[in-house]
Symmetry: C2
Subunit: 147 residues, 2 copies
């Protein structure tokens, strides 16, 4: 239930790949796709979406490729996920914010609102830079486990 799509997963992998490259270096679609294990043509679409959002910048022609448009320390996981999957909305009734035909006064909406707020808060609290680091220092370092 409430799963991130493959597209979203691929998008995160691709962003992390870009974040791990030396600043300014351009990566090719094929290169990213190979390393991140994502179908090439599909990744192409995802990267296009990122460039439209302004998270990634692209350059055409010989020597072209993709690179992060901003400092990974300033990009949050929320931005990445929302760029690809759209706004975090666990319940359709939240779309209109009160535009719920039936049961306008019921409390279910308020509960989903809290769910959304928490998701947003958690995802906005993690930067791509933090995620891209990892590798060494293995587990539970810096980010507290809430459970």
């Amino acid at each position: 239930m409430m799963e991130l799509t493959r597209k979203g997963e691929y998008a995160i992998r691709a962003i992390l790949y870009l974040a791990r490259q030396p600043t300014g270096r351009l990566s090719l679609v094929g290169e990213i796709a190979g390393s991140a294990g994502v179908p090439r043509t599909f990744l192409s679409k995802i990267l296009q979406q990122f460039t439209r959002t302004g998270l990634v910048s692209s350059f055409r022609g010989t020597g072209g490729g993709f690179t992060l448009a901003r400092d990974p320390a300033g990009i949050t996981l929320l931005e990445v996920v929302e760029a690809i999957e759209g706004p975090v909305l666990p319940n359709r009734c939240l779309v209109g914010e009160g535009t719920c035909e039936r049961d306008g006064t019921c409390r279910v909406h308020e509960v989903w609102g809290r769910v959304r707020d928490e998701m947003v808060s958690i995802l906005a609290g993690v930067t791509i830079e933090e995620l891209a680091r990892a590798r060494e220092g293995s587990a539970g370092d810096g980010l507290a486990k809430s459970s």
Copy 2:
């Protein structure tokens, strides 16, 4: 992104309808469907799923119908949602809990784990009885808004 399906919405409406009935009273599919604004045959499937889970009990034949199997004060929103939509799993990698082919050491999984934990915690903190009450007392009463 990460939307509850219509099935899930319908399920909640149906459960709330049942929770608002006098204890012991049986409701017919058609009756619930009409009141909750849910296609009758579809609701039938949802109710069957609920009876399989044990949340709702059903009785066949003349005078039959559906009723909550347990006290609504003891049923959480989490139970209702999971009965219909399956376990809350915002990221596929959480299914196997560590069975992630690639990037086993990356921190993304830990973040989604926290998201799931929070969702579960919020949904488990709301009972059907609370939700079914509402109506009078309008807003923000008893349940704190976190935002």
